[in-house]
Structures are given as structure tokens and as C-alpha cells.
Amino acid sequence: MDNEKLSLPQYDIPEDIQNAVAITTLDRLYNWGRRSSVWPLMFGLACCAIEMIAAQASRYDMARFGMEVMRPTPRQADMMLVSGTVTKKMAPAIVRLYNQMPEPKYVVAMGACASGGGPFKEGYNVVAGIDKFIPVDVYIPGCPPTPQALIAGLIKLQEKIDKESIRKVRWYRKGPDTMEIPLPILGPDLIDPRRNAEIKMAAAETKEGA
């Protein structure tokens, strides 16, 4: 962001000192710093991850947006890029990684599978959209989205960060958290871990029978 955009438009700064002085609000400065250093968590789940890698490489170069530092640990990451099909086996790991990320944290559902299940929406082993488990900020349609489409989605996320106010954001407030975390319902769409013993017993019985 250049100086003009950091300065508030309602203040007239003399032309000769425009490069040296900026009048802005704390919100704007804080958001400018935050939106320019969104570090993604480094993991990929399926074919969308290949496009994510392409977007990180020199052809598209996400470093231009301050997003080049892919952190291998959730403790240092700001954004989770769910890139690909979320299987039911992987869903608990993703939720755990999300819970380990410090606030403020953002989730981007990249591609059809992560946002709605895609072609596997009725599959026995695929979660139909990661938004059933964690709150998603930006949905990027496409199968997979091209690197340019991914960057367009990340610019959308930056726009969202720009609109936040330091006084209103929930992670600096006292008292219980106001965020609604979607509660997964154990049912036909999910493997119920409480029934693990039962499933194992049934599997052993079929093995004996065979």
C-alpha cells in the first residue's frame, strides 16, 4: 500500500511533504501491517495444493502480498488455506490445527471440494465443505482455482482485514468468545468415534467368518 492509500483522504497534506508525512488512524495502520503479512499454514490436501504451490512460485509470486512465508507450525500462522478435498479422516487434524492457531486467524476454502464437497459431495469419506467444522472467511470456487483466481481470493481476504476495527474485533475483548464455531453433528455424514469398538468388533467377526 502506498502513502496515498495509508493516509486518510479527508486530510489535505501539502504536496511537498506528502512523501514524508501520513495522517492516518491507528486502525488503518494496524490493518495495513496485518494485511501485508498474512502468513499461511503450510499444508496441502489435494490437487488444489499444486495450484497453491504454483501461486507461491516465481511465476505468480505471492511474496508480492507478504504471503510468502508458509509456516509449518500453526502457532506462527495467520491464515489457513484449506486447499483440497477434506476427507473424514483428515477433518479432525484440520480442526486441531485451526484450534492451535493464535488469533487473529482466517480460513480460506480453496476450490470446490473444500468449500462445498465438489464432485465428492455425497461421498462416504469426504466432508461436504470445511465450513461444517471451522468458520470460513473466503470461498474460492474453481476446480482447481488457477493461481490468479487464488490470488484474487486472497485480495478479497485482504479487503476483509482492511474493514476490521481494532476496537471491535472479538479477540481483544474481555469475557467469553462471541464467535460461533460450527458444531459438527455426529450422524450419517460422519464417522462416530464412540462407535469405534463396535465397528472393530464387527470387522473382526467378518474376518472370522471369511
Binding site: A112, G118, P141, A152, K156
Partner: protein
């Protein structure tokens, strides 16, 4: 000697770094813009480019080939005084061939006779399911559904597109796919002529 390979690799990086400036200066002398112009992007996408070839996306974008496809959209012809003549007849072939089953159509009936009208009341495409395969556009017998080039469609909520969002004019179709449009128009014209000739022939037969 150890580390020869590392030095060689660094040399390649070093060379590419300077090549960028050499190319920049060459373009500057010729008085052309290497960045933020279509010509510049074309050159940097070609095999003749030297140095860094990053596409600085929001300011400049890759030149998409005509057959590039993203999400489908519905075509309408602009009739008299801005009337939208939707090409779709709600036959439902696209919904049938769609591999992830992301299209659903609401058909309409004539309120007086109760017979179906060849026009959809609603047309939904779940953009978060669509896998951009292009089967719908391939199978459509009326060229009513076409794959779009627009990829800046990320949003803050689930994307289920309704007819209002899907409808785009035929002029837009011509602007993104000129060759396909010309071919389709020629086919449509030939079909119409054949129909007219057949009707004229039938009339002659009844007269005789």
C-alpha cells in the same frame, strides 16, 4: 573441491537476476513498456523471455486462450427494447450430463393450458460444486450455456448462482470467444435456412 555445485546454482540465479535488467533496458531503448501491457505479458509468457517472468496479477493478467474455461454462464440474445431472449429451453440435458450434479432447473408451465413452456423459471448452478469440466456447454443443443473466462469470483459466503447472476448477453459471449461465437452463429443460420427450405418444400407439396 566441495561446493562447486552450489556456486554453479548461485551463478544461474545471478545470471537470471541481471538478465531481467538487460531485458528491461532493451525494452526501454525500444520505447516499449515491459510491464502492465498486453504486449509485455505476451513476451514474458513466451520462450524468448529472459530473467524474471512474474505476472504482476492485479495490475496485469495472463492472456487467456479462447478455450479457457471457468464457471458456466447462460446466454441471452438482446431483443427489441432490451428484452432478454433466453436461449435456454430448460430441456435439462446439462443437468443430466453434469458429473458432480451441480445444475438444477425449475421448469415453467403455461398458467392457462398447463403445458410446459420452453423457458426456465429458475436456473441454479452451485459454483462451489462445479468442477469446470465444460460438459454442459459441450452438450447444450442451443448454445445457451457457455464456459466463462471470469475467475475473480471469490466471495465471503457459499456461491449458489441463480438465473439473475448467470445470465449474460450474447455480445459478452462474442467478446470472450470470438471464434466459437462465429462458428455457432454460422451453424444456427444454416439450421434456420434448412428449416425454412423444408417448410417451403412442404408448402409446395400441399399446393400440388
Amino acid at each position: 573441491m566441495y561446493g562447486k555445485g552450489i556456486l554453479k546454482g548461485l551463478g544461474v540465479t545471478w545470471k537470471r537476476f541481471w538478465n531481467t535488467y538487460i531485458d528491461d533496458i532493451a525494452w526501454l531503448i525500444r520505447g516499449k513498456k515491459r510491464y502492465y501491457t498486453e504486449e509485455g505479458v505476451k513476451h514474458r509468457s513466451s520462450k524468448n523471455t529472459r530473467g524474471i517472468f512474474t505476472v504482476q496479477y492485479p495490475e496485469e493478467r495472463l492472456i487467456l486462450p479462447e478455450e479457457a474455461r471457468y464457471l458456466p454462464f447462460l446466454v441471452y440474445d438482446e431483443g427489441e427494447n432490451g428484452k432478454k431472449e433466453v436461449r435456454c429451453t430448460s430441456c435439462g440435458i446439462c443437468a443430466k450430463v453434469c458429473p458432480p450434479q451441480c445444475i438444477w432447473i425449475v421448469r415453467s408451465n403455461d398458467p392457462n393450458t398447463g403445458r410446459p413452456i420452453p423457458e426456465p423459471t429458475e436456473f441454479f448452478i452451485d459454483a462451489d460444486i462445479c468442477m469446470n469440466c465444460g460438459f454442459c456447454a459441450e452438450y447444450c443443443p442451443f448454445d445457451a450455456i457457455i464456459m466463462d473466462h471470469d475467475f475473480e469470483i471469490a466471495s465471503y459466503s457459499r456461491n449458489v448462482y441463480n438465473m439473475e447472476k448467470l445470465l449474460k448477453p450474447a455480445s459478452y459471449y462474442r467478446s470472450i470467444r470470438p471464434e466459437n461465437y462465429a462458428r455457432n452463429e454460422a451453424e444456427r443460420k444454416a439450421k434456420e435456412e434448412a428449416k425454412a427450405a423444408k417448410a417451403a418444400g412442404a408448402q409446395k407439396a400441399t399446393a400440388a
